[in-house]
Symmetry: C2
Subunit: 124 residues, 2 copies
């Protein structure tokens, strides 16, 4: 039975963390496109995308924080831990015939707040 989009993304991160590349690859469309708009980087095709993950250096682990899914799209936020550092990753997934066909990744980093007009903002 075809997994729901929600189940597919849970499995995506589970198999990635387990370095279990065969079931990981089985979630992907053969012509999957991976995009990082911030760096304008792209990977085309299942083999290349699996290689990106398979060769990622360091002892990394992705902790799934949040998952929102509808019938043919999903988004996850992860806390990505590698070598004592952590960063937040936001991944948008699109599906085609039940397989992940497009992944768009965002890595927001801290910045100093600009001047604000409202007086209702506080820091935490």
């Amino acid at each position: 039975m075809r997994p729901t989009t929600r189940q597919a993304i849970q499995r995506f991160w589970q198999t990635a963390n387990a370095r279990d590349w065969e079931p990981f690859a089985a979630l992907l469309h053969p012509e999957v496109i991976y995009l990082v708009p911030q760096t304008r980087e792209r990977v085309r095709g299942r083999a290349g995308f699996v290689d990106l993950f398979r060769t990622w250096p360091g002892q990394w682990r992705a902790d799934l924080q949040q998952l929102i899914a509808d019938d043919d799209q999903a988004v996850s936020t992860i806390l990505f831990h590698v070598d004592g550092e952590e960063s937040t990753g936001i991944s948008f997934f699109e599906f085609d015939t039940g397989l992940i066909s497009r992944i768009t990744d965002h890595w927001p980093t801290p910045y100093d707040p600009p001047p604000r007009v409202t007086t209702h903002i506080e820091r935490y």
Copy 2:
């Protein structure tokens, strides 16, 4: 009739762009929390959150690019145009009794790609 989470977020951006603050405020929980993790900024309460939008400087417009919604959460990506500049905003929305009770905003900005191990990455 209570709008779906999807309808609520469509209406959120429509009323914001129209500066139509009464129906905008009606979508919000009285104790809504707004968070920007990158700057560690927070706004608490409906009046303060409406003020943040109402006082935002410049001729701005938020173009809704993508919307994913389930029963009690949603995420939108917008292209935020202000004074000839544009940036991508990713907003996570949580709901309580049909009202937006928590908004977490991310503003990813361009950065230079780090060295990559895989040979499958190209620039676009």
